[in-house]
Subunit: 641 residues, 2 copies
C-alpha cells in the first residue's frame, strides 16, 4: 500500500504577477490536512494584522485537502479563507461542486493569492501549469456568461470556473465566490476579497487523478454508503433538498420568520422542499425531477443540489443557476414573510448570477423590512419601494439593487450591521447579526447550543460549525464515539451541552479542514459517522490516522481562527448575540413567548471559553493551549507570554 | 455481532459482613472502561476526604475492565485503588498474572471493599457467588504457604489467590498485594490497606468466559501479534525480561546507581537480563530456560515474567516466587551498589513472600546506605549492620527486617521519607522520593519528561505513567496517531516535550483504565499501537470505540486522581522532585556532571498544569476541565465554584 502524501501549493502574487510553487513536507499535510486549517496557516504566517480586507495586503487562500478528488461522496469541497470585509476578522467559507476535484486534478492543493492585479485577470491552471490571463472582457459580466465565454475561449468544455460576479467586483460585503454558476463560497464576503484583487476567475482543468493508498478500502466505504443511502436520514435530503427541513423547523417553532420575530410561518408549505420538488424543480412538469432537477458534486451519491426552472410568469429562472437551499428559502422566504417560491428562486438566481451570499442578502433585506414596518426606514430611504414583509416584488428588486449597488441597495450592500450604523434611528435594535454576519435559519430558541456557537464562532453566526443539539439525544452510538454519553433534556444549556457544542465544533472544524461535506460526514444523521471519516482519511492517505488526530486538527484550526481574530484585537467583546434574541419574545407557534436568558447564555459562554482553554476575560487562545495543539508558533506570532 | 457490555460489581462491607452486587448501566463501562478510572470513581463517590489510609474508612477497589479475560495478549490486569498510606493521597497500582482473568470468569468486574473485619477473613468468589471466610489460620503466613493451604482447603487447583503477606499485615507502608506468589500490585502500599482491613486474601474461581462481540476481529489481531512478535521490539523483552534494558540504560548514563549519585554502574553486566537468563533462570543449567524460566500472564504471548531458581549457595531461591524485574535488579542492585545477582533474587523472593514493593523497598535501603556512607545513620541505628553500598548481605538482611518490621527495619518500613523525618540529621537531603514514593529506575537526567511526570503524577514517582521521551524520535508513525509530529532534540524539556508527556500520559492513563499491559499496548515500541488498542476494545465490546474516546477516558481518570488528591488538600506543593536531582551533579559515565535545572523544570511544570487545564497556582483540576470531560459531578464533590 502506498503511504504518505505530497502535493503542491500555488502562490500567486497579483501585484508582481509572480507565480511560485511550494511543495510542503508531508507532516504539514498530516498536521493541517487542508481546507480551513491550511488557509489560516498561510494567513497567520504571511499576513500582518490590521490590513484592509479589501486592500492588496489581504491574502485569499483557496484550499483543498488530502481527500479532495478521490472517489468517495462529500470530498469535492474547497475552502476560501481571507480577512473578511464583513466581520473585520477571519473569513472562512466552503463550497462544493466540481471545481474542487478539478483543481486537484489540475495539480494543486492550495492557491494562495496576494496583492492586487493592475487590471482584471483570471488564473488559468491546467495540469500543473499556471498562468495569469487578461480578464478585461469578463469584468462586469454575470457568472453564467463568464462561464460560457471561458469555455469557448479555452476550447475545453471540461474546465471548471470559480469566479466573482459583479457583486464581488463592486465590493458587496457579503459577495460570494461562485463556481459552475450555482455553487458558492457564500459567507463572510470572500467574493468581495477576490474582486478587490481584480481576480475575476480561477479556471482549472487537469487529468491527474489523486493517488488513493488503499483503493479497496475506499471502494468498500463508498459501496457501504451507496447501499445504506436509501434508508439513511439523508435520503430525504437527497430527494427534497435542504428545504426538506422547513416542515420540521415549523413544527418545532424554529422557522425564523419576520426577521426572527416568530418561529412559525403560516405559509411555510408554499416554500418547503416538497413543494419545490413538485412545482419548480426542473423536470417536475414531466415528473422527471429526480433526473433533471437534482444536481450533485463530484463523486457524490446524495444529489442534494437543486435545479429549478421557471419558464413563465413574473419570475423566470434559468436552470443553470441552480436552485435555492433551505437557507435561501428561509432568508428570502420566511425571514421576509414571502411565500412566493418563484420569487425566492429568482432572488437565488440573482445571487448566483451576481455572486452574493443568499443568507446575508436575504437576512439584510428582512432586517430592512422590519425597520420599514417599524417606520425607522421609509420610502425616502428606499427610493419609493414599499419594503414590507411579504412584498415579494420588493424583495426581488432589492436583491438586484444590492447586487448592483444601486440606490438603497448600495446601503444594504454593506451588510445589515453597517447599514444600521449608517442609518441610525435605532435600527440596530433589529439586527440579527453576530460579528456583523447575519444569522442563518436555525434558531437558538429551539436549539440552545446555537446560542453559544453563533456568538463564539470566529467568523460570525454560522450554522455549520457544530452539530445542532437534538442530535445528542437521537444518535447515541455516533455521539459515544466522541465521548458524549449524557444527553440532556431539550433546551438545556448546561455545562454538558456546552461540552457537546465544543466537541462537535471540533469535529466540524476538522471536517472543514479535511474538507468534507457535512451532509455526508458528521456525528449524527449524516451518511457516514466519525469512524468512517477516519477510515476514509486512512484509505486515501495510507496514514494510520486516528479520530484523536482529526479532532486535534479541528481544535487546532479553531484556535488558529481565534488567534487570527485576537491578532486583530477581536475577542470576547465581539462574541455577541442579537439583542432581539434576549429582549423580544417570539410570537406564535410552539415557541410563543420564548426568549433567551442573558445570564444563562453568559454563563454558558464563560464555560465555553474555559473548556476551550482560552482566556475567559478576553476570549483569546492562550499560549499553553496553542502549545498543547502543537502550534506554539501561533503564540509567538501573537506575542503571547 | 452482539453489542454492548454488562457486568457486576461486588461491594464488600467487612465491618458488617454484608456483600451486595451492583449492575451498573452500560454507559458506566463505556465512560470509565474499568481499572483505575472505575476504582477512583467509587473512592470519590463513596469515601469522604481525610480518612486514615490504614483505618476502616478507607476503600480498596480491585478493578478489572471490559477487556479482562478475553483472548488477547496483555489484558489480564487488575488495578488496586485506595487512599495510599505511603503518599497520603491516591494510591493506584496494577498487577498482571492469572488472577484478573479468573476474577472475570468468577463473575465480577470490580470488588469494592469497605470497613474492617473484626478478625482476619478471606473473600471466596466462585461463579458469581461470594462469601467471607475465616482466615485466622492464614494470618502471619507467607504467600506461598497461603496459596498452597487455600488450594488444598478449597479442593481446587485452579483457584487464583490475591493476598497480603506478613508485610501487609504489619502495615509496611509500601506493602504490596500479591497474586500467584509472584505478581504484585506493588506500588503505593495497597497491601498495607488490604492488611489493615483484616482481609488476608481474595480467592477467585469461575467458568464464565466473557463474551467477545467480534471474535474474528480479536483473533485476527491476536494472530497479527503472534506473527509480528518475533521481530518486534518486545521480543527481547520476552526472552530476557525487563532487565534486558540494563545495558541500554548503562550506556546512556541512565542506570541509577548509588541512590542516584551516578548514572552508571561498573558491574552492571553482572545483574543484567542476559546474565540472569544465562545463570539463574530456571532451567538455565540445562539450557531450557525458555521453557522453564519464562512465565506469562493469562493469554499473553510475550512471556516476559522471570522464574529464577537457586539451589545452592548463600541465597537459595524458590522458583514459585518468580524472579526479579529490571526495577528490582536496579533498586536492590545498582541503587545499592550490589552486583550479586543471587542476593538480588533473594531480596525479590522476600518481597514476594512477605508482600512488598521491590522498588520502594530497594530504594529505601539504598537511601539508608547513602545516609550510612555519609555517617548520618550509624550502626547504632541499624543494630550493628554495616549498611554500606555493595554490601549484599546487609541489603538482603534489611529487606527481611523491613518485611518483619524488626529493629531498624521497623523504621524503614515507613518508607524513606517518613524514616528521614523520624531520623532527622539532614537525611532528607538524600531522599529520592516524590510524594513520599521512591523513584523507579529511570532517570530524568536522560529522559527529561520524567522530570515532569515524576513530580506531577498523582500517586508519586512512577515510570509507567507516560511514554519515555526517546520514543518520540524513534516511532514516528505511532506517535502521529496521537497528533505528535514534531520530535524535539534529545534532552529538550520545552513545550512540545511537555505536550508529548501529557498526551502519552493520557494514553497510559487510558491503558490503566481499560487495564492493558504496557508491554503489549502502547504508543511506541510495544507489540500493538494505539490503533490496535482501539481495534481490540471494539472487538471485545462491539462498541464503535474511537481513540478520541479512549484518550478522554485516560484524561478523565487522571483528572479524577488529581481531584481525589485535591480533596485531601494535596496539590502543586506536593508535586516535587528529589532535591538531589537539582543539587548534586551525577558522577561518571555519559551523564557525568548532569543535573536538572530547577528553573527549566518549574517552567515545564507550569506549562504542564496550564496544558492540562488545571489551576497553575494550586495544581487542582478546575470545574470547566472536569465538565469538559463529562465529570462535572467531581467538581460538585470538590465544591468547586
Amino acid at each position: 500500500m502506498p503511504h504518505g502524501y505530497n502535493g503542491k501549493i500555488l502562490h500567486v502574487n497579483l501585484t508582481t504577477g509572480e507565480l511560485t510553487i511550494e511543495e510542503p513536507e508531508e507532516k504539514f499535510y498530516r498536521k493541517y490536512m487542508g481546507g480551513s486549517a491550511m488557509g489560516v496557516y498561510y494567513l497567520l504566517k504571511e499576513m500582518p494584522a490590521g490590513v484592509d480586507p479589501l486592500g492588496p495586503d489581504n491574502i485569499l487562500a483557496l484550499c483543498l485537502s488530502v481527500m479532495t478528488g478521490t472517489p468517495i461522496s462529500g470530498q469535492s469541497r474547497m475552502t476560501a479563507v481571507a480577512k473578511s470585509p464583513l466581520t473585520g476578522g477571519i473569513g472562512d467559507s466552503q463550497c462544493g461542486g466540481f471545481f474542487p476535484a478539478e483543481m486537484k486534478f489540475a495539480g494543486f492543493d492550495g492557491i494562495i493569492v496576494k496583492g492586487r492585479a493592475e487590471k482584471p485577470v483570471y488564473l488559468w491552471i491546467h495540469d500543473g501549469r499556471a498562468e495569469l490571463r487578461d480578464a478585461g472582457h469578463l469584468w462586469g459580466r454575470v457568472t453564467g456568461e463568464v462561464e460560457a465565454t471561458l469555455r469557448e475561449e479555452l476550447g475545453d468544455d471540461k474546465i471548471e470556473v470559480l469566479q466573482v460576479g459583479p457583486a464581488g467586483e463592486k465590493g458587496v460585503r457579503f459577495a460570494a465566490i461562485i463556481n459552475k454558476s450555482n455553487r458558492a463560497n457564500g459567507r463572510t464576503g470572500m467574493g468581495a476579497v477576490m474582486g478587490s484583487k481584480n481576480l475575476k476567475a480561477v479556471v482549472v482543468r487537469g487529468t491527474h487523478k489523486p493517488t488513493v493508498a488503499d483503493k479497496a478500502a475506499l471502494s468498500e466505504l463508498a459501496r457501504w454508503g451507496a447501499t445504506h443511502f436509501p434508508e439513511s436520514d439523508v435520503a430525504g435530503l437527497g430527494k427534497y433538498g435542504t428545504a426538506e427541513t422547513t416542515g420540521a423547523q415549523q413544527r418545532a417553532g424554529g422557522l425564523p420568520t419576520y426577521n426572527f420575530t416568530s418561529g412559525v410561518f403560516d405559509r411555510w408549505e408554499a416554500i418547503d422542499g416538497t413543494t419545490m420538488y413538485d412545482t419548480i424543480l426542473r423536470g417536475a412538469d414531466q415528473g422527471k425531477q429526480d433526473r433533471y432537477g437534482r444536481d450533485t458534486c463530484y463523486g457524490c451519491t446524495i444529489r442534494c443540489k437543486r435545479v429549478v426552472e421557471i419558464k413563465e410568469g413574473p419570475y423566470q429562472v434559468d436552470p443553470k443557476y441552480g436552485g435555492p437551499e433551505y437557507e435561501t428559502t428561509s432568508t428570502f422566504g420566511n425571514y421576509c414573510g414571502v411565500s412566493d417560491l418563484p420569487a425566492i428562486a429568482k432572488a437565488n438566481e440573482i445571487c448566483n448570477k451576481y455572486g452574493m451570499d443568499t443568507i446575508s442578502c436575504g437576512a439584510t433585506i428582512a432586517w430592512a423590512m422590519e425597520c420599514f414596518e417599524e417606520e425607522l426606514i421609509t420610502v425616502e430611504d428606499t427610493g419609493g419601494i414599499e419594503l414590507r414583509y411579504g412584498n415579494a416584488e420588493a424583495m426581488v428588486k432589492m436583491t438586484e439593487m444590492i447586487a448592483k449597488r444601486e440606490g438603497f441597495g448600495d446601503v444594504l450592500a454593506e451588510g445589515s450591521a453597517r447599514a444600521a450604523a449608517k442609518i441610525g434611528r435605532g435600527t440596530d435594535e433589529y439586527l440579527i447579526t453576530s460579528k456583523n454576519q447575519e444569522t442563518p435559519a436555525h434558531m437558538p430558541h429551539t436549539k440552545r447550543t446555537l446560542a453559544v456557537i453563533y456568538a463564539v464562532n470566529p467568523f460570525g453566526a454560522d450554522h455549520q460549525s457544530h452539530e445542532h443539539d437534538p442530535s445528542y439525544r437521537f444518535y447515541p452510538e455516533r455521539m459515544a464515539q466522541l465521548g458524549l454519553h449524557d444527553p440532556q433534556p431539550k433546551l438545556a444549556l448546561n455545562a454538558e451541552m456546552v461540552r457537546y457544542a465544543m466537541i462537535t465544533q471540533h469535529l466540524y472544524s476538522a471536517m472543514d479542514s479535511i474538507n468534507v461535506c457535512q451532509f455526508v460526514f458528521g456525528s449524527a444523521w449524516q451518511l457516514y459517522g466519525p469512524d468512517q471519516l477516519v477510515k476514509a482519511a486512512q484509505a486515501v492517505t495510507g496514514w494510520n490516522v486516528s479520530l484523536y488526530e482529526l479532532m486535534q486538527v479541528g481544535e487546532r484550526r479553531l484556535n488558529m481562527l481565534r488567534a487570527f481574530n485576537a491578532r486583530e484585537g477581536i475577542g470576547r467583546e465581539a462574541d455577541t448575540l442579537p439583542k432581539k434574541f434576549f429582549d423580544r419574545p417570539l410570537k406564535g407557534g410552539k415557541t410563543d413567548g420564548y426568549v433567551l436568558d442573558r445570564d444563562e447564555w453568559r454563563r454558558a459562554v464563560d464555560t465555553y471559553y474555559a473548556m476551550c482553554g482560552w482566556d475567559v476575560e478576553t476570549g483569546y487562545p492562550t499560549r499553553p493551549k496553542l502549545e498543547a495543539l502543537g502550534i506554539g508558533w501561533v503564540a509567538d506570532e501573537l506575542g503571547l507570554a
